[in-house]
Symmetry: none
Subunit: 222 residues, 4 copies
DNA sequence: GATGAATGAGGGTTCATTCAT
DNA sequence: TATGAATGAACCCTCATTCAT
């Protein structure tokens, strides 16, 4: 239920480390993380230099190392903050004990709902995950991903068992497609466009559950 | 209809450049591009050094510059080769003058069908596009993307006009979701698993057109 | 007779500076010097960071600068403390007005006798002297060294004049060899081994005065 | 009999690596090593920057990495070259099957004989060994040292068994003192002074075997 | 005295690229 | 075509030191 390999049950190590800092120190740190996240999202993790991050904060690059061990530590905090929040939201949705379709709808809404507050983190995860995963320190991300997958897959299976979902689809595969569809939207979604994230969610829920077709015809090609 | 900003109508500049080379030289070049593509896909464009590419080919890094002007030229060739092929396939599907649902299904199949032969290129496009787009030379990729978008959106609209597709969905949005769902699959799809790309396509077509729900219930919206 | 270039006759500047501090402040300072000396000895002067010294003392690196102007000041104190003590001991030995061999023996014993109480300082002097001497502030160390050399050389010459020492050896050269043999022992001497420093001294005195050979044979090769 | 942990029997890995290079490449490399050795000796390993080494060679610092993996690799080559030569010389001396005193004398001469050709390497070993040994890659230096120690100690013991050397001295301790006395001379020995290294050797051999005392008196210990 | 944020200079190293051979 | 030496700019990071609090 946590996002870090060596963590306890409810908090990531990063979060715990953060908590040990004094209030204002933590605020400064959080601010720096936010600035860095924006840069990582815009230019990519590797293409963002520590000098740029520092410049954005109005300090020198060396000064960043008063707050963080390394560039990796910064992106780590970006990602784990997001995952902590995401998983917490999912858990809350599960606690409602509604039927599978309702829960799944809510989870879709949660997913799209993170698009704005965690836009930068999600973008980093989409673009730089392939690079970051080669570092052992980010193994915990895989674990978090697995946990999320289990949550989704069990709901899909429950829906199938209850006769709510068609039984001829693969739960794991279906989860992956839903997940990807939601997160990849971060690439083109911009606040202020035709639809807000809530509209996006409803749009997707409609297509997801009821399909694109009207049922007028059932032509299909092998 | 082409993938390069400064190209003519049917061939990318990269392709034309390639064509000017002698047969065996072109083969050597293609081989190098293929090796590079694999590395780009595995480690990311930025994280892959020209030294590594050269090493993989059994030559020294400086020697690569007899074949390519720059590292960017290599990845350019990787991407444009893929896009050339993709667009050509789409065009063929459009020529069938079948109904919108049939055409759209075929286009989904085409998309999934590129997952294996163009795995590396698609991976690079997914992971490194955000970085590469900042270089002017890759502007043509945006144009190619726009062209593809138009192909899809017009089919969706045609389907709606024909009463085949529900009219309460946004064509552009729907296209994006379909597109993302297909391409992102490259991240987890591995040949030899439960489903091949053809199976993946049918699975997705089912959910896409007819929805996940069985219709047993019409429970709600949050 | 003193160890600092700009000092008076009997005390080093460092000592004087120390003396001006209040009792407990001086104790704190001495403690910090001792901690630093250990680190310098173990890791080398350059490789030891002020952060490490401060950490060892349970404070932050910036706080060290309430006690010392600079890192060099700390090592200065380490070295001058040792030299002050050494020269004081030599002087005492000279006051006995015994014959040259007795005095020289005593000086060897004094040298080995500093190995334990001044282990760290001697180690620093052996390993980091080459680096430290480039700073003008450590010029006084050369002067102290010269003073010590004069003490030894005059004793050796006196011994030769009195017919106690063979006259075919170079006094200065002999001094250097004795000196080096004693101090370099700090590299391998560990308290608690077969011989204590006193045993080491006697062992060396034996070989030094009477030679390794038994006299049984006088084979020699050019 | 070799100076590297993972080496075969007669050559160090460094040497083998060097040998694989073409003639002129090796020469360039050797030249760079020589320049670096001088700087290391003069300023210390840590205080010498790669930029300084490169400047000395008239190239840029980055260019050094065309020849060496790292700064450590350079100093490694400096030290192993010296040790290879030293051990080879010792072996040759042992092959003469002369009596222990003769062999030991020869080994002292060998030691002093390296002072000039290997001055830089010996200086580095004296001053920076304490720092370098913390890196695993230099473990082989300890092994080389052990090998040398065995050569010496066995000769001293042989001399004692043959009644040539006094039996009341500790072989290991005696070796260490001899070793230190020879090598530390690098600190003050300058070619062109009163004595050349050959003179130094004979001087030391005299004192070592026959002692400083004339035998006129046997006063001992205060 | 101590803190902690920041400085500023520099360190070792990387890497795409060039070019004479 | 390929080599290999070199470039030059940039990168992440370190560290002694300062100073307002």
């Amino acid at each position: 239920m946590t996002t870090r390999k060596n963590s306890g049950t409810t908090t990531t190590p990063a979060k715990r480390q953060r908590a040990t800092s004094s209030g204002s120190a933590s605020e400064r740190r959080d601010h720096l993380v936010k600035l860095a996240a924006e840069l990582f999202a815009r230019k990519g993790f590797q293409a963002t230099t520590v000098r740029e991050i520092a410049e954005e904060a109005g300090i020198l690059s060396g000064s960043l190392y008063h707050h963080f061990d390394s560039k990796e530590t910064i992106v780590d905090e970006v990602l784990s903050t997001f995952l902590d929040d995401l998983i917490a939201r999912y858990r809350a949705a599960l606690d409602t004990s509604a039927d599978a379709r309702t829960v799944l709808s809510e989870m879709v809404r949660i997913g799209f709902g993170t698009l704005e507050p965690h836009r930068a983190a999600i973008t980093v995860m989409q673009n730089d995950w392939n690079y970051l995963r080669q570092f052992e320190r980010f193994n915990y991300l895989v674990k978090a991903e697995d946990e999320v997958e289990q949550i989704w897959v069990s709901q899909i299976k429950a829906g199938q068992a209850a006769g709510l979902f068609r039984s001829d689809v693969d739960p794991k595969l279906t989860y992956r497609m839903i997940r990807d569809t939601i997160w990849v939207a971060v690439r083109w979604f911009r606040p202020g466009g035709r639809l807000n994230t809530s509209g996006l969610a409803e749009h997707y829920i409609t297509v997801l559950f009821d399909g694109l077709a009207t049922g007028e015809r059932t032509t299909q090609k092998g």
